[in-house]
């Protein structure tokens, strides 16, 4: 009986390992990420130029593709508009799994934050700037709760704000490049 159980566990471990290895390799240099595995550079799609768009269209966008320049890699991520600026979150930042899963956020905060976002097939050159201002966070938290948390109830908004204040959730503004200078 024990032998059978160990064999089943072995097969499951084998399949999990093959999955992680195969999909990691498939998406490593692909034009964009999958749901879970980071991709390569975002190369297709028109590059936006000109004035900042009205970012309210992102209210109907569930996730965007976000690529850092250094280190090069892309992933899918939530997006929130607030005050006609656009923001992306990164959760689980203080958990062990989060430190592995959300490595891009640490790299963006430590580095120059230069990025490319692809939204509805259009690419935007951006710079990720971590936001800590409570007044800005309040607006972003409301949109985050509304879009992804089941509704912008006072409890949900407070929960997001606390998560940001505690460092569990990081919020980055996807600002135009050079905005932090």
């Amino acid at each position: 009986m024990l032998r059978i159980i160990l064999q089943i566990i072995g097969v499951l471990a084998l399949l999990l390992g093959l999955t992680l290895l195969t999909l990691r390799l498939v998406y490593k240099d692909a034009d964009g990420p999958s749901r879970l595995f980071p991709g390569g550079a975002l190369v297709s799609g028109e590059m936006h130029s000109g004035p900042e768009p009205d970012w309210s269209f992102t209210d109907d966008v569930f996730s965007v593709e976000l690529q850092l320049l250094d280190p090069l890699g892309s992933r899918k991520i939530f997006v929130m508009e607030s005050g006609n600026k656009v923001y992306v979150p990164s959760g689980y930042m203080r958990s062990t799994l989060g430190r592995l899963w959300k490595d891009w956020a640490f790299k963006a905060d430590e580095g120059d934050g230069l990025a490319v976002a692809r939204i509805n097939g259009v690419r935007y050159e951006r710079q990720l700037i971590r936001i800590m201002d409570p007044t800005v966070i309040a607006g972003v938290a409301s949109k985050l709760a509304q879009k992804y948390g089941g509704g912008a109830t006072p409890e949900a908004i407070t929960g997001v704000e606390k998560s940001v204040a505690d460092g569990d959730t990081w919020i980055f503004e996807m600002a135009p490049r050079g905005a932090s200078q």
């Binding site: 084998l14 093959l18 999955t19 195969t22 999958s34 958990s95």
Partner: protein, 44 residues
């Protein structure tokens, strides 16, 4: 199951599994969704 048969089963499953991941997008999407659910439930 004897070791030889077990290893042959693992090899066959590996080929089928990887082929499924590479050639059947709904299969790879489904597997990713399962892994994502596990990570989201256990990340905190």
């Amino acid at each position: 199951m004897k070791t030889k048969n077990y290893l042959m089963l693992c090899a066959a499953l590996s080929v089928v599994w990887v082929a499924g991941l590479l050639l059947v997008p709904p299969f790879s999407n489904g597997v990713e969704a399962l892994i994502h659910m596990f990570l989201a439930a256990n990340a905190s």
